[in-house]
């Protein structure tokens, strides 16, 4: 008996008022696999992630997560299946401080969330929260409200919140855009290492081909709403047609 893949998308279609944003997209992510998505702006990468997380509903096609069909489910229900997501534009709470974001995400993943007598700053999650802060080098900003922190740190906080949920599948939309190129490789090294150590399956959208080549098991190339190529980084990135379309 073979376990169902982490994600299966079959023949997805979606258009926005006449613009075909997604055209017959089919993609499978195996359990534990790290898949990169590349493609120009407007190719439909974020739209694909939006469909996989229930924010948008495909007009046609099927999406299964660990064998469970998720078309029509709300983002919350999909999150409960173990799917976490970080956004291209960080979705964080501007008035709140950095560390509380992680405390909240960590509490959301545990039983006892609704207990009004259990403080947000609970000892059970304190260790994990500190580890995440250190992991993303956010410890110096821990007590600052997020509206004042740099864009790169906001992105990392968004990713850290996704990771705090301890997901089975994580979808990262340009996780390191806005992070300085000096920090990028080190950060991705640790992030991918942590994902692999936990057996988390991952999709990440990325524009930096060095990052893709180093960290992805497979690469999917998006061109105008459709998948143009899927394969190993060596094959795909050296393909002259891919170079022409994407680079």
């Amino acid at each position: 008996m073979k376990a169902a893949p982490a994600l299966e998308a079959e023949h997805l279609f979606l258009s926005f008022g006449g613009v075909q944003a997604v055209r017959d997209v089919s993609l499978t992510v195996a359990t534990g696999e790290v898949l990169a998505i590349i493609g120009q702006n407007g190719a439909g990468k974020s739209t694909f992630l939006n469909m996989c997380t229930g924010y948008l509903r495909p007009e046609r096609g099927a999406i299964r997560i660990a064998g469970c069909s998720i078309v029509g489910l709300k983002p919350r229900a999909i999150a409960r299946l173990g799917v976490a997501r970080a956004f291209q534009h960080p979705q964080i709470f501007p008035q709140r401080c950095v560390i509380d974001h992680l405390r909240f995400a960590s509490a959301a993943a545990r039983p006892g969330f609704w207990n009004p007598f259990r403080p947000l700053n609970s000892p059970q999650s304190a260790q994990d929260v500190l580890q995440l802060l250190a992991f993303f080098a956010l410890d110096k900003l821990a007590d600052q409200p997020v509206r004042g922190i740099p864009e790169g740190a906001r992105k990392l906080l968004d990713v850290a919140m996704a990771l705090a949920l301890e997901p089975k599948l994580i979808l990262l939309d340009e996780p390191t855009s806005g992070v300085s190129s000096a920090e990028k490789l080190g950060l991705m090294t640790r992030l991918v290492h942590a994902l692999r150590a936990r057996g988390v399956s991952a999709i990440f959208v990325e524009h930096d081909m060095d990052v893709v080549a180093r960290f992805a098991d497979r690469v999917a190339v998006w061109v105008e709403g459709a998948i143009f190529r899927v394969g190993s980084p060596e094959d795909v990135l050296s393909d002259p047609e891919v170079k022409e379309h994407v680079l």
Partner: protein, 351 residues
């Protein structure tokens, strides 16, 4: 697998302990003033509470007014709680009225157990909130405000029409004679009610503070910021709101029950939209947090007494002027004045 796992653990453990050291270094100087203001706050609170406890001795004839301030403050606290999610309710008179009518209906059964009646009043407020909330918490902004208003006005007209049960526009007499089993004379009852109410305010305030510091209480405030992110963390924003709505219904019902016990009479006006407006004014005047609405209620009561004495026909002018002043100079309400002043003086010095 194991070979791969162990270096990670070692690495993260190392990171973690160095992280803790780093935090310890930065935390101590930063937290010291925080702890000092925390202590200042606690001692300010204790002083205020001691002053409140002394009020019936300082001015015995006003004990009734003091009790009403606490009752309205409790109900206003319910409105203020929802304000934290960025939502304003123009229908909290529903819970306030329900609490009062519950006491009126049950007083003949437990005439000397006022404490029980107050709890029933709060409980009925919570139950009504849980039922109405199932529907209301799906809405935001103007729709939320108006739906609250609509439901409270429906309750108001049903009450007016059902004369046999509610006494129609005459209302009902509330005959509570004691609080814990003993019948009391009017003066002693008024004083006892005040202290029971003050004790309830303290207990409910502490409980509410626990809730506000819990993940769900934090999430309530995050609804205003970015609801979709909450959903993406697997948490239902509507359920967060429902929990707060039920708590706020309890506070409204409890406040209404106290007021009904003190006044000795309930009337459909308790359900009328003007009562809801008073609660909103109290919440806005006082500001967010647990103490604010009580300051707001005290200010409101003072204003109405002053107006009755000096400005008999233009009470609205006075109230309007004060609301304008608060919105212009004390955005965070009265409880937020120290913070507002500090921010303003900082800005002043920079300029």
């Amino acid at each position: 697998m194991a070979a791969e796992g162990s270096p990670t653990e070692a690495e993260s453990h190392h990171e973690h302990s160095s992280m803790r050291n780093a935090l310890a270094e930065t935390a101590s100087p930063r937290q010291a003033p925080m702890r000092a203001t925390g202590k200042l706050r606690v001692s300010a609170l204790v002083t205020i509470l001691a002053f409140c406890a002394a009020l019936p001795f300082i001015s015995p004839p006003d004990t009734f007014e003091f009790t009403i301030v606490l009752a309205v403050g409790l109900a206003g606290l319910g409105v203020a709680l929802l304000l934290e999610a960025g939502l304003i309710s123009f229908g909290h008179a529903l819970f306030y009225g329900m609490g009062g009518y519950t006491v009126a209906a049950l007083a003949p059964v437990f005439p000397r157990f006022g404490i029980l009646l107050l709890l029933f009043g709060g409980g009925v407020g919570a139950i009504v909130a849980a039922i109405a909330g199932l529907f209301i918490v799906r809405y935001r902004g103007v729709f939320f405000a108006m739906l609250n208003l609509a439901i409270s006005m429906v309750a108001y007209s049903v009450l007016l029409k059902s004369y046999a049960i509610s006494g129609g526009s005459d209302g009902m007499v509330v005959q509570v004679q004691g609080l814990v089993g003993q019948a009391l004379g009017p003066g002693a009852f008024g004083r006892a009610l005040f202290y029971v109410c003050l004790g309830s305010v303290i207990v409910l305030g502490v409980l509410l503070q626990c809730y506000r510091r819990s993940p769900a209480g934090w999430g309530l405030g995050a609804i205003e910021d970015r609801e979709i992110r909450i959903e993406y963390l697997g948490v239902s924003a509507n359920r967060l709101l429902l929990q707060a709505y039920v708590i706020s219904g309890f506070l409204g019902g409890f406040g209404g029950a106290v007021a009904a016990s003190a006044v000795g009479h309930v009337a459909p006006d308790d359900f009328f939209w003007t009562t809801s407006t008073v609660l909103v004014v109290v919440a806005v005047l006082g500001g967010r947090g647990v103490v604010g609405p009580f300051l707001g209620a005290a200010l409101y009561e003072l204003l109405s007494i002053a107006a009755a004495r000096y400005l008999s026909n233009s009470w609205e002018i006075l109230l309007g002027a004060v609301i304008l002043l608060v919105i212009r100079f004390a955005r965070e309400g009265f409880a937020g004045l120290p913070d507002t002043w500090r921010a303003a003086s900082l800005q002043w010095r920079r300029q």
